[in-house]
Symmetry: C2
Subunit: 141 residues, 2 copies
């Protein structure tokens, strides 16, 4: 995603393209991992202009609300973020907490009626187990 595309997707969501907000979005768009807010804060501050912690969190909140960024909660660990590129599922490692992308496939929705008056926005599928790095260590013990 190039600079113009990032600017477009921010403004298309009604968000001003400030240097700080741009930097968060640009970092997430090029980042293939799932960084925490602290990692994003650090990365952004290696560039100019710098951004405060509050602004980093504010911008992450705004980007998530706008649907441009996804937040992944991991039990007992800081939240992780990714720019919503292609649809995909997530694999979360029981041992190291790493979040990895898994190729997307369609998930069957619940039978009509089971959700009652609730309004369904999305079905999220999360795989859990041991990642490639942690699986071998498991075999030893």
């Amino acid at each position: 995603m190039n600079a113009a595309a990032i600017r477009r997707c921010l403004e298309g969501s009604g968000l001003r393209c400030t240097p700080q907000r741009y930097a968060v979005m640009a970092f997430l768009a090029e980042c293939n991992r799932h960084p925490t807010a602290a990692e994003i804060f650090d990365a952004v501050n290696r560039m100019d202009p710098r951004s405060s912690r509050a602004t980093t969190y504010n911008n992450l909140r705004d980007l998530v609300q706008a649907g441009l960024v996804r937040e992944v909660a991991v039990e007992g660990r800081a939240a992780r973020f990714d720019a919503k590129g292609m649809r995909h599922h997530h694999f979360i490692c029981d041992r190291c907490g790493n979040v990895e992308d898994v190729e997307w496939y369609d998930v069957p929705r619940p039978a009509s009626g089971t959700l009652g008056k609730r309004i369904l926005r999305e079905c999220e599928l999360i795989f859990r187990g041991l990642c490639t790095k942690c699986a071998p260590r498991h075999a030893w013990r």
Copy 2:
């Protein structure tokens, strides 16, 4: 679940049935909501004997490790817990963060090969949207 059953399931998992641990498990087993650690701590301390915060967290950790309790991470909110009774999925409200049970149905696993050397333990399906209480407020605005 009666007292004997709780004792059995703790000891069957190699955990001593201490009064504090029993109280956490008993509370979760009878609780149909998804309480936070703080709520569990409060509930347990309304009974005797009392339990410290550290012990409540330690016991929750042990129960999760033993597979008797499930922890649900909710973005931006404290973790929630439930005793794993019947298999079920979860609905998490975007607005109030409430976690609700949804009748279980089978989830298709990823095609063999997509997970590589990873070891898959479970597939978790999470529904997101607005709960029954929050859906109407949404219509107003």
